[in-house]
């Protein structure tokens, strides 16, 4: 095993732990937008698709990389836009803390 692979594995393991840590106390109302947001992040695959497109040198490689770039970009653009649309819905919520408190006292 070489040093580069070990570095890559280290990054991989730490990123997994990081992924476990960032999701823990999410209210259920945010589960769907959060899933959609995470969905957009794996659109980073488009970076890899760009590499294979520029390094392509034969028709089949051009074809595969073209589909990969298009797929990856669709994942990124569509993912972020639809997540933003979902979250926009939550924004206009003039939560009145006073009213909520009053009701709790009443109960």
């Amino acid at each position: 095993m070489n040093a580069e692979l070990l570095t890559a594995l280290t990054i991989f393991v730490l990123a997994i732990l990081c992924g476990f840590a960032v999701i823990s106390k999410v209210p259920a109302t945010l589960h769907t937008p959060l899933m959609s947001g995470a969905n957009s992040i794996h659109g980073i695959v488009v970076v890899g698709a760009m590499f294979i497109a520029i390094e392509a040198d034969e028709p089949i490689a051009y074809l595969l990389s073209f589909i990969a770039v298009a797929f990856g970009t669709m994942n990124v653009v569509g993912g972020y836009v639809v997540t933003d649309r979902m979250l926009q819905m939550f924004r206009r919520k003039p939560v009145a803390p006073a009213a909520a408190k009053a009701e709790k006292a009443e109960a």
Binding site: I16, A28, S65, I67
Partner: protein, 476 residues
């Protein structure tokens, strides 16, 4: 190893992108910062992509400049970006879950294509891949392909396409087919890892994985699709991380692993909220979706059917009404009709609130989005813990297309829903249930609520029923 200035810069930009992804996800944990978190994440993505483009243009410039490659990149970005932007902006909020699944499918497809391309390239140059590349390539192809077809089927099921009905589809000899496909994949992978360089075997693995994605998802019912989509989302993350190992690209590894892990946790949270286990869902037990299994009449129940006018009178002369919207409301897209009824009641001085179960709708949190889209004032939406004590004082609980989340059987042991948090609908003075039939929910059991003497059943499609109620209230 010494990096060029350019390569150093692009790698720094990737780290910045990764930092934005992590902080973005953390900020998306709370409603107040969620939108900002998503924008931060999108900003990080833009930086990473632009830096990559600049790097490729300069580093592979001059003699090595690949004109066709750049045409491919620009055309691909234009096509994919255009399609993504158009569909994301025009989709109805009720159809949003299937669109997310579609975006997930193409992400998994892109990851698989990268590995396929890399493998063909190795084969063309007769280079025997190193073990790490070989392992990552096979895993990328398998996971990416399963996600691709699996997510497409999940999306189709949510759209209710004829070829992918939302009910569970039994595949003849299903278990056997699945086992055979898994065997092909494992045997093929072992053969390649020995190591051997064989394009036909790679293609065989690819084909088996693509079919596996279909046979895995088809037998699962529509009501369980949110959990399935979330699981496939986690798979795509893992496939992208594998693509990162294939290309030796750190940002793909980081972002992929991040999504793989966070997606797995999110899947478990979703399954927990539905009182299901992920394994249970994937192996497929009950998962029919409302009204598909169901015996009309229900054993041992004597249910009271309510007329439209009686229901209208009960609602109009109540002083407080709690609406319990569920899956059936989302399916019938009845949120606008519901808001109209609520506004009509409020104009008559009735206090209207909405009780939102954590898993109401087609996905956790989906109901909030649907009602917000129909312009229901946010302060009227109440979470379960907050609204439950208020049922004791409510005159009418109006249940629209919700089933298992209102079943009092959950309070007692010995039923499939036991222990699931429910809305205390049966505490209200009167209960009106709008429902198509006595069909069961996805837990596949009868709802004791319907046999309650306080309960009146209005057998109708959620949208049609609410529209008729609106005219009945207007006529009073």
């Amino acid at each position: 190893m010494e990096l060029s200035v350019l390569e150093t810069l692009v790698r720094v930009a990737w780290v910045a992108g990764a930092v934005a992804f992590v902080i973005g996800l953390i900020r998306m944990n709370s409603p107040a910062t969620a939108r900002n978190g998503n924008l931060l994440s999108a900003g990080g993505m833009t930086v990473a992509i632009v830096a990559t483009a600049v790097f490729l243009a300069l580093e592979r410039g001059g003699e090595a400049f690949n004109v066709t490659g750049w045409i491919i990149v620009i055309a691909g970005i234009a096509l994919g970006g255009g399609l993504g932007l158009y569909t994301a902006r025009t989709v109805k909020m009720t159809a949003m879950p299937q669109l997310v699944s579609l975006f997930n499918a193409v992400g998994g497809g892109a990851a698989a294509l990268i590995a396929i391309d890399d493998y063909l390239h190795l084969s063309a140059t007769s280079t025997l891949p190193t073990l790490q590349v070989n392992v990552a390539t096979v895993l990328d192809i398998v996971i990416g392909s399963v996600t691709f077809t699996g997510s497409l089927i999940a999306s189709g099921k949510l759209m209710g396409l004829r070829i992918t009905p939302s009910r569970p589809v039994k595949i003849p000899g299903g278990q056997l087919v699945t086992a055979a496909l898994a065997l092909i994949v494992v045997a093929g992978a072992a053969f390649l890892w020995i190591p051997n360089l064989s394009v036909p075997v790679m293609l065989l693995i690819l084909a088996a994985a693509l079919v596996f994605g279909v046979t895995m998802t088809l037998p699962i019912g529509g009501a369980d699709m949110p959990v399935v989509i979330s699981l496939l989302n986690s798979f795509t993350g893992t496939a992208v991380a594998m693509a990162g190992f294939v290309l030796d690209n750190p940002v793909l590894i980081i972002a992929g692993a991040l999504v793989g892990a966070s997606g797995a946790i999110l899947t478990k949270l979703m399954a927990d909220a539905m009182n299901r286990s992920v394994i249970n869902i994937m192996v497929g037990g009950f998962g029919g979706g409302e009204g598909t299994v169901g015996s009309v009449g229900g054993a041992g129940h004597s249910v009271r059917e309510l007329g439209m006018d009686d229901a209208a009178i009960q609602l109009a002369y109540a002083s407080s009404v709690i609406v319990v919207p569920g899956y059936g409301l989302a399916v019938a897209q009845a949120q606008h009709a519901l808001r109209e009824l609520a506004e009509l009641l409020e104009a008559r001085g009735v206090d209207v609130k909405y009780a939102i179960h954590p898993v109401a709708g087609r996905m956790p949190g989906h109901m909030n989005v649907l009602l917000a889209e129909a312009n229901v004032p946010y302060p009227q939406l109440r979470e379960m813990e907050e609204i439950n004590p208020e049922f004791d004082r409510a005159d009418v609980a109006l249940v629209v297309g919700a089933n298992d989340v209102t079943n009092p059987a959950a309070r007692k042991p010995g039923s499939p829903v036991s222990g699931m948090p429910i809305l205390d609908v049966d505490h209200a003075r009167a209960i009106i249930v709008i429902k198509r039939s006595m069909g069961r929910g996805y837990a596949g059991i009868d709802n004791e609520l319907y046999g309650n003497p306080k309960t009146g059943m209005l057998f109708a499609d959620a949208k049609a029923g609410l529209t008729e109620l609106v005219s009945a209230v207007k006529a009073l």
